[in-house]
């Protein structure tokens, strides 16, 4: 289901259909996260991605109308080059993943693994500093978005 949605993302010619297939991918991945006992990540995925980010994309598309994509490409051999590059990329990822060997898993209690409580303990003790840095990053992004999308005022 995720793969079907992903193919839909790159094959539809109207951006709004790409966005809607990306929502399918997000929800499918969220279910996989739940399967991997990452409940909090599942909730964050659904709210942040399938909710907020996708609504943002839909807003921009709705604001500027359904711009259809031109079929032509300025670069002549672009699709062939892309195919070669992507094949190489797939091979590299494949060899990396096929050589994976797992070490012995940490003996964590699986009944609390991935719950909100255990994530919060990790987030606010060991990783407090990166957590604060992410909040700073969000602040910078918000200010930057406001600055970029404000109405230009002619100062004369």
């Amino acid at each position: 289901m995720a793969v079907v949605g992903a193919v839909g993302v790159i094959s539809f010619h109207e951006p709004i259909r790409s966005v809607l297939s990306l929502v399918v991918v997000m929800i499918a991945l969220g279910i996989l996260f739940l399967l991997l006992s990452a409940q909090f990540i599942f909730v964050a995925q659904i709210i942040v991605y399938a909710g907020a980010v996708m609504v943002l994309f839909l807003f921009v598309i709705a604001l500027f109308g359904p711009a259809r994509e031109l079929a032509r490409a300025n670069l002549r051999f672009q699709s062939w080059l892309a195919a070669v590059f992507v094949l190489a990329l797939l091979i590299v990822i494949w060899t990396m993943l096929s050589g994976v060997q797992y070490r012995q898993p940490d003996t964590t209690d699986l009944s609390v693994f991935g719950t909100v409580q255990s994530i919060a303990v990790g987030l606010f003790t060991t990783y407090l500093y990166p957590f604060e840095l992410t909040s700073l990053l969000l602040l910078v992004a918000a200010i930057g978005a406001i600055y970029l999308s404000r109405k230009k005022v002619d100062d004369q």
């Binding site: 793969v3 992903a6 193919v7 993302v9 790159i10 951006p15 790409s18 966005v19 990306l22 991918v25 997000m26 996989l32 996260f33 399967l35 991997l36 006992s37 990452a38 909090f40 990540i41 964050a44 995925q45 942040v48 991605y49 980010v53 994309f57 921009v60 604001l63 711009a67 259809r68 994509e69 672009q78 080059l81 892309a82 590059f85 992507v86 990329l89 797939l90 990822i93 994976v100 898993p105 940490d106 003996t107 964590t108 699986l110 009944s111 693994f113 991935g114 255990s118 994530i119 990790g122 987030l123 992410t134 990053l137 969000l138 992004a141 918000a142 930057g144 978005a145 970029l148 999308s149």
Partner: protein, 109 residues
């Protein structure tokens, strides 16, 4: 949890890794082939999600919570990236109608 054990008998972690590799590759194809800047942003989101799936899979496999914490950071960074990218696109779209990223090649510092 109903006794699901990944890496054990019922579900293998490698399937999740393969799926994530496929998703990442599809996202890369999209970035390289599509011409619309909006769709390219969408494809970048797709690649970020594939990486998130890898992180969560390894976190579950090693039963180590750090992968999930890093996934949270990654989701935050992806959201910030989407916001700033879309703001830039809105700024560009306001002045002219762009349907092809090649028309944006004159952007300088």
């Amino acid at each position: 949890m109903s006794g699901m054990s990944i890496g054990g008998s019922e579900l293998d972690a490698s399937w999740f890794l393969i799926l994530s590799a496929i998703l990442f590759t599809i996202g890369a194809v999209g970035v390289l082939v599509r011409r619309n800047p909006l769709v390219i942003l969408i494809c970048i989101e797709l690649m970020l999600n594939a990486v998130n799936l890898t992180l969560v899979t390894f976190s579950r496999q090693l039963q180590n919570l750090e992968g999930q914490l890093f996934t949270l950071m990654s989701i935050t960074v992806a959201a910030a990236e989407a916001v700033v990218g879309l703001a830039i696109l809105v700024d560009i779209f306001r002045t002219r109608d762009v349907e092809d990223v090649d028309e944006l090649s004159e952007m300088k510092g």
